[in-house]
């Protein structure tokens, strides 16, 4: 099917002239050259004050461009810059005062150390990482179902960064924690990495295997994992090679599909784990024992000690069962009708009724039955297998399932004119519930939810419903039992029986097979040896399952997993399925099969993995993780130091952090990039050391503009040292020349001035208002009104209707719940990411809608009120209050003119309104 093939070629690669002339097969490209530590350039008498090699590299380039670096920014600017950079938060006025008054030569270094040691650091930098790995908390696509267990991965990243986990280890854990560190289950959340992207639930879960739609969706699902791995760790865009040999980079289709093979054995699912090793050992042991005993009751004969405790437990068990047992009397059914004329019912000898004829999509069965007990306390509905039903039933769906949407009971009138009187039911229980289709759903009043029994088809099941008022039903009356089956697609009951009991409540459905119940009813002395053995074996399993149930609940994380609970048509594969190269990416045109491996472009490492057992899927991922972090893998080390540089400076040494290929940019400072990569790799891959190195440089500490900040000129606070301004005077002529040479500041002749990103804006506002809740971790804060009436479609999410004073509002933004299709309009206006794709660089736009949000948003306005209330508490007199609010937001104090204007405004419109103006100042929104 040619049409499909063309559609599948996702990559839009218009060929620019210079790129087309390059030979894609060649690895003669800067990013693919082996890493060699370059010599630090000699910079003569312009050696930087800090002696930091970074400055030598930067200065050398500036000289080539006939540019000079800017002088150091003042302390107020530096502490604001550093705190936003490392924490995503503003410094408090007290921290600013302390730093400005700290005369020690090590004051700056101490500040850096303090900031890096704080857990706020991990929260800030985890957000950067989550942008790249396109972490979201819903599935995206059409059924944007929430992922309530994605957060453990987010917490893992925060903790890993705070612990300064060596980078290689960080990579290993995210790709293969289960294979490489099997003894430490607390690392399982790291596996959320490859599962972080969107998940096409309607295609993968709803579509049956083998359809084009399903196969295409599976291919694209693996593509997402492969593309994410390659762009995150290697800064390569391999996804082009899904359909054709990469046009610009030497990546073959074979390379690409080798990477797909690495992930072939995993799906995305809620993966369970026990972070506590003792619990894990106990659970694993119990599960193994139960599985063995289920197959063969004599697999593990109990020890004498076990025998003793089992005997005691069995006596108690039998006693409790006897107390629970109820006598069930079949109802005398007079008539059963269907709403569809094609369905008729036949009464069988055992008192059950069989539905025959063509099954409609949906149906309602109505049963009229006479009560022959003095008073009914509960009703039992049995659904029974039958050879005449599909898959032996008990349902009429092709797979033997049924869905009971609602059960309704009423008392028939004594004559035709009297309306039936509804009888309320409660406390539904069943011997078995299909996952997500439990028996309470037959009593919840919602026609769209129901009780089901899949996959336990071909077996009898029963459900018990208590009457809310047992006295209502007495001997001789006629009951009308209505069985609503409205889910559609012939999820109808095939054969059923109705019984009643008068045993005092509570009455619950036992989870034991009915024939065993009969054996239990007899005293021990009357049982045969075989029966005793059968009961002993059965109880032993019940006992072990109880032991298992008493363990603390397993933790769950949305992650990749080879083994997981099947979700309708989405099932784990026993072994990784074979992966073939696809001609033009077309699932219908498979070429040769490939094994797991990596990219041949990294010439320093073998691309094919030598695995002792090629079918061990976890070993495949471990091999890829080791290949990525090998010291010889030049891409990995260049990639991470460039990202870190990008996040510090707002622009990478390569300004396409996800693409080091021929469509990406060239490095502005290739030697510095390599020096940093080697330094980082060889000193153990400590991100905190790398941060320290970068922020300690004179390059990082430069001013961002030629104008002195107001604080130093007009408030007398920390004037810039005269010596540093010598060669970089407030000189428009110089500025003009520098800007003409390098307007985008690629050579860093000054510091860049970032606009606060969405999360930093929101968190800074909360910090200023005093409402910021620094609680770490746990399930995400839903900062919206949440309504989820229909589990088949996306929930309803209303941000405008959410109370801004709900405590969930006050959590740091890294903990907010991230819907892919339903993002927060306030944060969206500030360029928060859409996690459908990787975001290596945040956009930073300025729009009228952004102005409207910052000026009018309900949450923002509420924080302005809190900010005003806070400074009224903390300072006396309007001027002092305005100064404090201004410093909480902008770090610096207001100028005399600013003070005069804001005071006047506050007099007229209130302090909170003056805060509203301050929150919208450029000096709050930008970091100098």
């Amino acid at each position: 099917m040619k049409l499909l093939a063309t559609v599948l070629s996702l990559a839009a690669l218009a060929v620019p002239a210079e790129a087309a002339s390059a030979k894609p097969s060649s690895t003669d490209w800067w990013s693919l050259k082996p890493l060699v530590r370059p010599a630090v350039p000699p910079i003569g008498n312009q050696q930087s004050a800090t002696g930091n090699p970074i400055d030598a590299f930067i200065l050398a380039k500036l000289r080539e461009q006939k540019l000079t670096p800017a002088p150091s920014a003042d302390r107020g600017t530096l502490i604001r810059r550093l705190t936003f950079d490392l924490h995503g938060l503003p410094p408090s006025p007290e921290e600013v005062d302390q730093f400005e008054q700290d005369a020690a030569p090590q004051a700056y270094e101490r500040l850096v150390e303090r900031l890096l040691a704080s857990p706020r650091y991990g929260e800030r930098w985890a957000r950067h990482w989550l942008d790249v790995v396109h972490y979201g908390e819903s599935n995206g696509f059409g059924m944007d179902r929430p992922r309530l267990q994605a957060w453990p991965y987010r917490d893992y990243v925060i903790a890993a960064l705070n612990a300064d986990k060596p980078y290689a280890r960080f990579v290993h854990e995210q790709l293969a924690a289960d294979a490489m560190f099997p003894e430490d289950a607390s690392l399982v959340p790291a596996l959320g990495f490859a599962a972080a992207g969107p998940f096409n639930q309607s295609a993968l879960v709803e579509q049956v295997d083998g359809t084009d739609c399903k196969r295409m969706a599976l291919n694209l699902d693996r593509d997402d994992m492969v593309a994410s791995t390659a762009s995150t760790f290697l800064s390569l865009t391999v996804h082009c090679a899904r359909c054709h040999e990469h046009k610009f980079d030497p990546i073959s289709q074979q390379d690409y599909y080798r990477l797909q093979a690495v992930f072939a054995g995993v799906g995305r699912a809620e993966r369970t784990f026990d972070a506590d090793p003792q619990v894990r050992v106990r659970r694993t042991g119990l599960r193994g024992l139960i599985a063995d005993l289920e197959k063969n009751p004599d697999a593990h004969p109990p020890t004498a000690a076990e025998r003793g405790s089992l005997a005691t437990a069995q006596r108690a068990w039998e006693k409790s069962l006897a107390a629970q047992a109820a006598n069930w009397t079949p109802l005398s059914i007079e008539q059963v009708t269907s709403t569809n004329s094609t369905t008729t019912f036949t009464k069988l000898d055992d008192g059950s009724w069989l539905a025959t004829g063509t099954a409609a999509d949906k149906d309602v069965y109505t049963v009229r039955a006479r009560v022959t007990l003095p008073a009914i306390t509960a009703l039992r509905l049995e659904v029974l297998p039958d050879d005449r039903l599909p898959a032996r039933g008990p349902g009429r769906q092709d797979n033997g399932n049924l869905h009971l949407s609602e059960i309704r009971v009423s008392l028939a009138g004594t004559n035709v004119t009297e309306k039936p009187k509804p009888i309320a039911l409660r406390n539904a229980s069943a011997d078995f519930n299909q996952a997500g289709w439990s028996i309470e759903r037959a009593l919840d009043g919602k026609p769209e939810t129901a009780w089901g029994i899949h996959p336990q088809v071909g077996k009898p099941h029963h459900a018990v419903f208590e009457l809310a008022q047992p006295s209502a039903v007495t001997n001789g009356v006629t009951l009308i039992v209505q069985l609503d089956q409205l889910h559609g697609q012939r999820h109808l009951i095939g054969r059923f029986r109705l019984s009643a009991t008068d045993k005092p409540q509570p009455v619950r459905a036992p989870t034991l097979p009915v024939e065993l119940l009969a054996k239990l009813a007899r005293p021990d002395a009357e049982r045969t040896e075989a029966e005793r053995k059968q009961l002993f074996d059965l109880h032993r399993l019940v006992y072990l399952r109880e032991q298992l149930a008493q363990l603390p609940a397993e933790q769950r994380v949305w992650a990749i997993a080879a083994d997981f609970a099947p979700l309708r048509n989405y099932k784990p594969t026993k072994e990784p399925p074979p992966i073939a190269v696809l001609h033009r990416g077309d699932i219908k045109q498979p070429l040769a099969t490939v094994g797991p491996g990596a990219l041949a472009v990294v010439g320093t490492l073998p691309a094919e993995f030598a695995l002792p057992n090629a079918q061990d899927e976890a070993a495949r991922r471990a091999a890829l993780a080791r290949w990525i972090t090998a010291p010889e893998n030049m891409l990995t080390w260049r990639s991470i130091v460039n990202r870190v540089w990008h996040w510090h400076f707002g622009r990478g040494l390569v300004d396409t952090p996800n693409d080091f290929g021929r469509m990406g940019s060239l490095p502005t400072h290739p030697e510095l990039l390599d020096w940093l990569a080697v330094e980082f790799r060889d000193s153990g891959g400590s991100l905190k050391q790398l941060h320290k190195l970068i922020v300690s440089s004179a390059t990082y500490r430069q001013k961002s503009s030629i104008q002195s900040s107001v604080s130093s000129v007009q408030t007398g606070r920390s004037p810039a040292p005269a010596s540093l301004t010598e060669h970089w005077k407030l000189n428009t002529e110089y500025f003009q020349r520098a800007a003409a040479t390098d307007a985008s500041n690629a050579y860093l002749w000054r510091m860049n001035r970032p606009r606060l990103d969405a999360e930093a804006f929101r968190d800074a506002l909360l910090a200023a208002s005093g409402k910021l809740d620094l609680t770490m971790g746990g399930p995400s804060a839903m900062q919206f009104k949440f309504d989820d009436p229909n589990k088949e479609v996306a929930p309803r999410v209303d941000y405008a209707a959410f109370d801004p004073d709900n405590p969930a509002s006050y959590r740091r933004s890294v903990y907010r719940f991230l819907f892919r299709n339903l993002n927060d309009p306030l944060l969206e206006a500030l360029d928060a990411v859409d996690p459908s794709l990787s975001t290596p660089i945040r956009n930073s736009t300025i729009t009228p809608l952004q102005a409207l949000s910052l000026w009018n948003n309900r949450f923002v306005l509420r924080q302005c009120e809190h900010l005003a209330a806070r400074v009224e508490r903390e300072a006396t007199g309007l001027e002092a209050q305005i100064t404090r609010a201004f410093r909480l937001l902008c770090t610096r104090a207001p100028s005399r003119e600013e003070m005069a204007l804001l005071t006047e405004h506050a007099h007229q419109h209130g302090l909170a309104h003056a805060c509203r103006v301050m929150v919208n100042l450029n000096d709050f929104l930008f970091v100098n």
């Binding site: 030629i706 660089i841 100042l921």
Partner: protein
């Protein structure tokens, strides 16, 4: 995304030093960031050729509108209803095909062109001489969200910019008072993919569709402060914004046009505060106009209101209006996903009634006002439906063939392109995909779809991916 080119930054800087920075900042804000990325240095981002249209209204029938019961007349289907035909099922929700289901609606030829339309759409039937039909559209998927994402962005996976975002990126704004790209969801609820249906993808945020919700207190998020807020009063609004501008102006830095742009953004926001309520205030519309759109009837007024607002938006210079008929979040009903029933009295009929008169009214009104000459109206859906039945009276999804139509803005009315097979199961001749439709749209707007791209993650991304051709047969 790419930062501004060095050449651009130099130009901007030089102009700032020469003429103060206000004018340039405002201009760059109006032009939208990112646009200049396609333009050679030293030129303004001009269209590739002379445009035939300057605005677009995209009408999206959510759910997969049945071509078999609206526009694709197949005598064989009408004659052989009930017969079992051996179709190879490749999509949809069921594994096997039911018997052929003849349309329960009456077919009749209409207009000079003699276009067949059923009596399910009597008002649109009266417009066929203005419509250009794609009779053999093909979708690569029969799954709702992927189908919707395909028709809106040209990709089956999420994250790519939608057509409106591309048009915003290419053509920029016509008015300073309203957003460039406006989305009008069905009042019943959002489409399958929520707000992602008008996403800017990796284009700068300014190209995102602005959702307009006429019934809400704030038809645009945060257009006004909440009524209950103690901070909102007319006097304080004015004084506060004036003070903000004054304080921000005092802190400008040469070489950083963003600071000036922020000042301008509040001025534009203030204009939007006037313009949005004005565009939603329908008091000035005559009774005759309102009647044309189906006002006064609860079945047609909800969509009629949005259609009328769409015309008013276009009149006031909005580039791209995306108007939705049907919601994905309301569950299985309230859209065109008519698995169970397409006969009279069904949800299918309700969707037809809901949209027929309002959309026909929109075409007629645009035409009467001369707006149809340079406004393209595009009617589409995620895929078609099967000629065979699902259950007894419904139809399943069918990506193999469906119908879409365009009007105005350089399209030749009364034309058709493409043909499906004898039962309307598969596209048979002159098959088109959304790429071709999008390429034609960009062509009429003055752009070569192969030359309009944006660098993202190592690829120069296009709306039409690596596909698309202009459908010349439908152009006037």
């Amino acid at each position: 995304m790419n930062p501004a080119s060095p050449a651009q930054s130099r130009r901007e800087f030089a102009t700032q030093l020469a003429g103060g920075f206000g004018s340039v900042a405002l201009a760059s804000l109006l032009q939208e960031p990112g646009r200049a990325a396609t333009a050679p240095a030293g030129t303004s981002p001009l269209a590739h050729h002379r445009p035939r249209a300057k605005q677009v209204i995209q009408l999206f029938m959510l759910g997969g509108a049945s071509q078999c019961d609206t526009f694709d007349y197949k005598p064989a289907l009408q004659q052989r209803g009930g017969e079992k035909v051996n179709f190879t099922v490749t999509g949809g929700t069921q594994a096997s095909a039911g018997p052929l289901l003849k349309s329960p609606w009456a077919w009749q030829q209409h207009g000079q062109c003699g276009r067949w339309v059923t009596n399910a759409l009597p008002h649109l039937a009266g417009c066929v001489d203005d419509l250009a039909f794609l009779m053999a559209m093909n979708a690569p998927t029969s799954e709702h969200s992927a189908g919707q994402t395909m028709q809106t962005s040209g990709f089956v996976v999420p994250g790519f910019p939608t057509v409106g975002a591309w048009v915003s990126y290419a053509l920029g704004r016509l008015t300073e008072n309203l957003p460039v790209f406006v989305a009008l969801p069905d009042p019943v609820g959002l489409p399958w993919t929520g707000k992602a249906a008008w996403t800017n993808g990796f284009l700068p945020a300014v190209h995102q569709g602005t959702m307009l919700n006429p019934a809400a207190e704030n038809p645009v998020p945060d257009l006004f402060p909440p009524k209950k807020s103690s901070l909102a009063s007319a006097g304080s609004e004015h004084d506060g914004l004036a003070l903000l501008a004054k304080l921000n102006r005092a802190q400008l830095q040469p070489g950083d046009s963003r600071l000036e742009a922020r000042i301008a953004s509040y001025e534009l926001a203030a204009r939007m505060q006037l313009a949005v309520p004005e565009v939603l205030d329908l008091q000035g519309e005559t009774a005759a106009t309102k009647a044309l759109y189906g006002f006064g009837d609860a079945k047609t007024e909800p969509l009629g209101r949005n259609c009328l607002i769409a015309r008013r938006l276009v009149e006031r210079g909005v580039r791209f209006v995306q108007l939705w008929c049907g919601s994905g979040l309301a569950g299985a009903s309230g859209n065109w996903d008519n698995h169970g029933d397409i006969t009279p009295g069904s949800d299918f009929e309700r969707m037809c009634v809901r949209s027929d008169k309002p959309i026909a009214g929109l075409i007629k009104d645009l035409k009467a006002r001369g707006l149809l000459n340079d406004t393209i109206v595009l009617w589409t859906t995620e895929f078609g439906r099967t000629p065979y039945s699902q259950g007894s009276k419904g139809r399943d999804h069918n990506g193999n063939t469906f119908v879409s139509w365009m009007a105005g803005g350089g399209f030749k009315g009364g034309t058709t392109y493409g043909e499906s097979d004898e039962f309307s199961f598969k596209a048979a001749r002159d098959t088109t995909m959304c790429y071709d439709q999008h390429a034609t749209l960009l062509h009429l707007l003055g752009y070569d779809h192969e030359q309009l791209f944006f660098r993202h993650d190592g690829a120069d991304r296009r709306l039409t991916d690596v596909h698309g051709r202009v459908i010349w047969d439908l152009l006037a």
